[in-house]
Symmetry: C2
Subunit: 678 residues, 2 copies
C-alpha cells in the first residue's frame, strides 16, 4: 500500500512538472499562431499521456505503435506492388500475338521502374540505396549514423522499394532488408516523440528502439514474430541484453497481428493463417531416414552459398576498381539501373531463355510453386495443374527447368545486387535455396519412384519439404544466421518439418562459416567502409590484437583539481565532451574522476556574476569514474566494454595516470582508421 | 593454399605434441596394469581424436553427444515411467469391485514411490531435491556450485525423478526442471572429458556448456529445439552471448532429433511428429475478433498466476517458520513425502472428489484431452468419445468438473511443491493453465452456441485453442518467461495459433511482472538462500545501490615491484589466487598489474636452486591489468562486468591505488552477505 502511495504521489508530481514544462514551452514560443487552441490541445494530450502512463510506461505504447505502423507500411506496400504487377501482367496479356510489343512491354516496364527508383534515391537521399541491414548492424553496435535515420530517407526508401518490388521476378529482389531499415526509422522517430513527453535518457531509448525495430522489421514483413525476435538476437554484435527481450516480442507480435488482420480485412485470406499456404501431408511428413538427405541438402546449400558469396565479393570489388563501372555507379545511376534491368529482362523474356525459368511467376508465385508437396515429375503432363505448368516448358523435363533456373539466377542475382536502388537480398536467396532443395527433392522422388532403392518403399516423397529446407539452409548460409529456419517455419506453418529444416540450416551454416569467410552483410559492410568492428574482424583478424593505447587520438582536454576559472573556460571552449576528466595535478596526471560539462558552465556563470576566484574542486562535484581501461586492452575489448556500459565515457589510464578517453565518436574514428589501414 | 598448408602443418604439430603428451602420461603412471594394451588403446583414441579434430573443434562433438545422451536419458525415463504407470492402472482395474483394496492401491502406490524418492535423495545426495532450475540459474550467473554437478547427484536425480513421475497425476509434478539440471550434469562431465583431450580454458568451456545444456534440457525433454534455445536465452541473468547461440541450436536439434527418432523406433509414433497430436481445424483456426478473448485470457492467467505465486511464497515461508513442518522437512523427509502424497491421493481417489477432477488421466492424457478441438458440452453425452468421458462425471456438466479441478489443484499443487524430491514444476502449471483456458473456451463455445451473440455466427469455436493459449500464458506468467509460448507451439505443431498464444503470454507476463514481484524461480532462490543476484534484487531493490567499496573483504595479498624471494614466498603461502596484484611500493600502493602464481612458483624454484637474490620485476613478467573498477561502482555493476569479462580477476582501485580484488568466490561471499543482511 505504502509503495503504491509513493508511486501515485510521484506520478502526480510528474504530471505537475509536465504541465509546468508545457506552460513554459508555450511561454517561450510567443510567435506561434492559435496559442489558445494549442494550449487546450496540449493540455488534453498531457492528460491522455498521464492516463496512459498509469497503465504502463510510455515506451510500451511506442513499441506497440512501432509494430502497428510498420505493419501498415508493409501492408500498403504489398497492396501497391500487387496492383503494379497486375497492371504489367494485364498489359502483357493484352499484347498477345505481337511478340515485339510484348518484348518491349516485358523489358521496358521493369527497366523504367528501376531507373525511376535509382534516380529517385540518387537525387533525394543517396543513403537509401541497398538493403540497409549493414547500416542497422553498425548502428546496433553503437555507432551513430544520423543520415540513415532521416524522414527523407524513409520516404525515399519506401517509394523506391515499391518500384523495385514492382519490377517483379525479373530483377529478383526482396523486401526484408529495407523493411528492417524502414522500421528503425519509424522506431527512432517514435522514440524521439516518447522522450519528448517522458524524461528519459535519449541515447539509451534510441539504442533500445533499434533492437526492437530490427525484430519488428522482419515480423511485420511476413507476419512472423518469432523469427523477427531471433533475427534481432542474431544481428547484435556480441551480446543480446535480456531487457530488450520482452519489448522485442511485444512489438513483433503487435506488428504480426496487425499485418495479418489487415490481410484478412482486405479479403486476401479468410483468417490469420500462414502467408504461404502449403499442403504437406500431416500423417507422414517424412521418413526417418530422409534426415540423412536433409543433412546432405544442408551441406550442398552451404557449398553453393560459398560460391555465391565469392561471386558477390568479386563483383563488389570489380565495380569499385573497374573505371567504367565506377563512373557509371557514381554519376549515371539511373542509366546503369535501366540498362542492367533491361538486359536482365530481355533474358527472362518468356519467348527466350525465360521459358525455362518460369519467368512469368512473381516472387510469391515462384515460392508457392516450389513449396508444392506434389511431385512435378508425375504431374508435368497434367494440364490441370496450372502453377506447375510454368516449370515444365514443352519438350523438357522439370529437372532441366530447375537447373537452368539455378544456373542463370546465380549470376543474374549477383548482377542485380550491384543495382543502386532500395532492395532486399534475403528473399531472392530464399527462393534460390527453395529451387535448389526442390531439385534435390525431385531427384529423390524420381529415383524412389523408378525403384532404384529396391528395399525401401518411399512412395510419398514430398519435394516441397526439401524446397523448404533448402530455402532455409541457403539463406541461412548466405547471411550466416539461423533465423531463416524459423522464418521458413512461420511462413508456411509446417511445423512438422522443424527438425530437418534446422539440421540443414545448421550444416549449411557450418560449411559457410568455415575458414572465417565474411557473410553477405559483412562483405557489404567492408565494401561500404562502414565502421562495423565485427565485419572488419572477419576480414582482418589481426586487428583483434591492436592495443587501445596505440590507436588513441591526441591527449584529450583535462582539468586539474585546483583549476581556476580561466582554465575551466579554456577547457569548455576546446572540448565538446559531456564528461571532462579531472586529474590531481598536471604533473602527476593521477585521474580523480570527471566533472560534467553542464556543471562547468554553471561554475563559469557563477564566477562571472560574482567575480570570485574559487577552485574547481570547491564548487563542482567530481564524479568517480566507473570502469577504467588500461592501454594494453585491445580495441575489441574496448568496443565491447563500451557497448556494455552504454552511452558513457570510458577513461583509459595507466598506473592511475590518465592516458585518454574513449567515447562513441572516438571509437568510430578508431574503427575507420583501422579500416583504412586494412 | 598457403593458409591451408599452415593449418595442416600446425595440426600435424598438434598431433605430434599430443602423442608425446600421451607418452609422457604413460611414463608418469608406471604402477597401472596392462600398460601395453592401454598404450595401444590410447594411441588409437588419439588418432581418432585428431581425425575428428580435422572436421571441427572437439567441443562440437561434445555438444552433439550432450544432446544425444540427454535425449536417450529422457527417452529411457519416459519408457520406465510409462511401464510403472501401466502397472498401477492394471492393478487398479484388477481390483475392480473391492473399493477398499482399490483405495489402498490408489493411495499407497504413489505414496510409497514418493517416500522412496525422498529417502533416496535424502540419503544419497540431498542436493538432488527440487527442480534444479534455481541452481542452474545461479551457476549460469557465474557462481560455482560443484555439489550440484556431481555424478552421484545425477544418478539420484534420475532415479528419484522416475519415482516422482510414476506417481502420476496424483502428485501432479513434471520433468522439465530436473531435466535441465540433469543435462547440465551430463554437459559438465562431457566438457571435462573434452578439456582432457584439448588444451582449453576449463572454466570458459564449463560456462559455455552450462548455457548449451540448459537449452538441451528443454529440447530433449519434449523434442522441442526452438523453445529450448529461447529458454536458455531467458534463463541468463542479463546478457546472452551470441557465441553460445549456434552451439545451443546445434545441441538442441541433436537432442530433439534423437528423442523423436527413438520415439519412432520404439513404435510410439509413426514418424517425427509433434508430441501431442491435436486436431485443430486448418481452414479456419479462429475468428479475427477472438483475439480479444485471447487477450482477456492472458490477463486472467496473469491474475491467477499472481494468486498462485502468493500461495507458493506463503507456503515456502510457512514450512521454514513452522517448527513442526521444519522438523519434518529436515529429519523425516520420507515420512513427510509419504504422508502428503497419501493425503493427496485419497482426495483424488476416483470414488471420492477425484471423479470431478478426471483423476484417472495421467498428465499426458490430461493435456491431450484438454487440447481436444471438439466442444465437450455438445459431446458430453456421446459415449464414443472416451477421453472426454473422464471430464463429464455422471450428473454434472463439464464446466463443473473443470472448476473443481482448478480449485482443488491450486492448493494441491502448492502443497506438492513442498515435497522434498526431484520434481519439475513447469508441466503442472502448463496443464493447470490449459484447464483454465479450456474453461473459458467451453464458456465461449456455450455462449456462442446458445445464440446469445445474436449477430455473430461463431459456430465452430475451438476450445482447444483457448486451452493451448491458457497453458502458455499461465506457465509463462508463473515463471516470468516467454518460452512456454513456443513450447506450446512445438508440443502441438499448431502454428496457426502462434499470434494469439504469444499475445496471451505477453499480457499474462505483464500482469505477473507488475509490481516487481519475484517469479516462481526467484522465490525458490530466495527461500534456498542461493547466491543469485538478480533474484535478490527483485526481493530487495535497494541492494542495487550498494557500492563495492563497502562490501569488499579485507585487503588481499599484494607484492611490491621490488619484492625479494622471501616476500614472494610469503605471498604464495598466504594467497590462493592465480593472479597476484603488484604495486609500485607498499607506500604508494599504485597498481602496476599482476603476476601469475605459476610464474611466482617458478621464480621461487629458480631462487632455491641458484641462490640468487633477484627482485620480482627482474624475473617475472608483470601483466597489465585489463579493466579496473572503482570502489564507487555498485555490486550489480561489478557482477555484470565480472560475468562479461569471463573468469578473470577484477581489480578495484581508487585513484590508481589498489583497494582490493574481486573474483567469483569473493563475489559469491559478497552476495551471500547481502542475502544475510536482507
Amino acid at each position: 500500500m505504502q509503495l503504491e502511495g509513493t508511486l501515485n504521489h510521484s506520478s502526480e508530481r510528474e504530471n505537475l512538472s509536465e504541465t509546468s514544462h508545457n506552460k513554459s514551452l508555450l511561454l517561450a514560443e510567443p510567435w506561434k499562431p492559435c496559442r489558445r487552441t494549442r494550449a487546450i490541445v496540449k493540455e488534453w494530450l498531457m492528460k491522455l499521456i498521464s492516463c496512459l502512463g498509469t497503465v504502463c510506461g510510455m515506451e510500451w505504447y511506442a513499441y506497440a505503435a512501432l509494430g502497428i505502423l510498420t505493419a501498415i507500411l508493409s501492408f500498403l506496400m504489398d497492396l501497391s506492388v500487387t496492383k503494379l504487377l497486375t497492371a504489367h501482367q494485364w498489359l502483357y496479356v493484352k499484347l498477345e500475338g505481337n511478340s515485339l510489343l510484348q518484348f518491349f512491354c516485358w523489358t521496358l516496364y521493369p527497366a523504367c521502374l528501376c531507373a525511376v527508383a535509382s534516380s529517385f534515391s540518387h537525387n533525394i537521399c543517396p543513403f537509401s540505396t541497398g538493403s540497409g541491414i549493414p547500416e542497422v548492424r553498425t548502428m546496433l553496435a553503437g555507432i551513430e549514423m544520423p543520415h540513415y535515420l532521416s524522414l527523407t530517407n524513409m520516404f525515399t526508401k519506401f517509394l523506391g522499394l515499391i518500384c523495385t518490388l514492382a519490377a517483379g521476378s525479373t530483377v529478383f529482389l526482396g523486401k526484408v532488408g529495407p523493411f528492417v531499415h524502414l522500421s528503425t526509422m519509424v522506431g527512432v522517430y517514435l522514440s524521439n516523440l516518447c522522450t519528448l513527453v517522458q524524461a528519459k535518457n535519449k541515447e539509451k531509448a534510441a539504442g533500445e528502439i533499434l533492437v526492437v525495430a530490427s525484430a519488428v522489421g522482419v515480423a511485420s514483413c511476413f507476419g512472423a514474430p518469432i523469427s523477427g525476435v531471433l533475427f534481432s538476437v542474431e544481428v547484435m554484435s556480441s551480446h543480446f541484453a535480456l531487457r530488450h527481450y520482452c519489448p522485442c516480442f511485444f512489438s513483433a507480435v503487435c506488428g504480426a497481428l496487425t499485418f495479418r488482420l489487415f490481410s484478412v480485412w482486405s479479403g486476401d485470406g479468410e483468417t490469420l493463417r500462414a502467408l504461404f499456404k502449403t499442403n504437406f501431408p500431416t500423417t507422414l511428413p517424412f521418413y526417418p531416414l530422409e534426415i540423412l538427405l536433409f543433412a546432405f541438402l544442408g551441406l550442398l546449400c552451404g557449398a553453393v552459398s560459398c560460391c555465391y558469396l565469392f561471386c558477390h565479393r568479386w563483383i563488389l570489388q570489380f565495380t569499385k576498381t573497374n573505371p567504367m563501372f565506377n563512373k557509371m555507379l557514381t554519376t549515371e545511376k539511373a542509366l546503369y539501373s535501366g540498362m542492367v534491368v533491361f538486359f536482365l529482362a530481355s533474358l527472362t523474356f518468356p519467348h527466350s531463355v525465360g521459358q525455362y525459368m518460369a519467368s512469368k511467376h512473381t516472387m510469391k508465385q515462384l515460392l508457392t510453386s516450389l513449396l508444392d508437396s506434389r511431385q512435378w515429375s508425375s504431374h508435368s503432363h497434367n494440364a490441370s495443374v496450372q502453377p506447375l505448368l510454368e516449370w515444365s516448358s514443352p519438350g523438357s523435363a522439370v529437372h532441366l527447368s530447375l537447373t537452368v533456373f539455378l544456373l542463370m539466377k546465380m549470376w543474374m542475382l549477383v548482377l542485380a545486387c550491384t543495382l543502386p536502388l532500395p532492395a532486399g537480398y534475403v528473399m531472392p536467396v530464399f527462393v534460390y535455396g527453395a529451387a535448389l532443395g526442390r531439385l534435390l527433392g525431385e531427384g529423390v522422388a524420381y529415383v524412389s519412384a523408378t525403384g532404384l532403392t529396391s528395399g525401401q518403399q518411399w512412395g510419398s516423397i514430398n519435394p516441397g519439404g526439401y524446397a523448404l529446407a533448402g530455402a532455409a539452409a541457403f539463406s541461412g548460409a548466405v547471411t550466416h544466421t539461423l533465423s531463416p529456419a524459423l522464418l521458413a517455419l512461420e511462413l508456411t506453418g509446417e511445423f512438422s518439418h522443424a527438425v530437418p529444416i534446422f539440421l540443414a540450416t545448421l550444416l549449411a551454416n557450418a560449411v559457410a562459416r568455415s575458414g572465417h569467410r565474411p557473410s553477405f552483410y559483412d562483405a557489404l559492410s567492408i565494401s561500404k567502409r562502414l565502421p562495423h568492428l565485427p565485419s572488419l574482424m572477419k576480414a582482418c583478424p589481426q586487428l583483434l590484437s591492436t592495443p587501445v593505447g596505440q590507436v588513441l587520438g591526441e591527449k584529450s582536454v583535462q582539468l586539474q583539481k585546483a583549476a581556476v576559472p580561466m582554465e575551466v573556460q579554456h577547457a569548455v571552449n576546446t572540448s565538446t565532451e559531456t564528461q571532462i576528466p579531472v586529474v590531481d595535478s598536471h604533473d602527476s596526471q593521477v585521474l580523480l574522476g570527471f566533472v560534467l560539462r553542464s556543471e562547468l558552465l554553471m561554475f563559469l556563470r557563477h564566477c562571472k556574476t560574482e567575480v570570485l576566484e574559487k577552485h574547481l574542486d570547491e564548487v563542482c562535484r567530481i564524479y568517480p569514474n566507473s570502469v577504467l581501461l588500461s592501454p594494453h586492452n585491445t580495441v575489441q575489448e574496448a568496443h565491447s566494454i563500451l557497448s556494455f556500459i552504454g552511452h558513457q565515457t570510458l577513461f583509459v589510464a595507466d598506473r592511475g595516470r590518465l592516458i585518454g578517453l574513449i567515447t562513441w565518436p572516438e571509437m568510430k574514428r578508431i574503427i575507420e582508421d583501422l579500416a583504412r589501414e586494412m
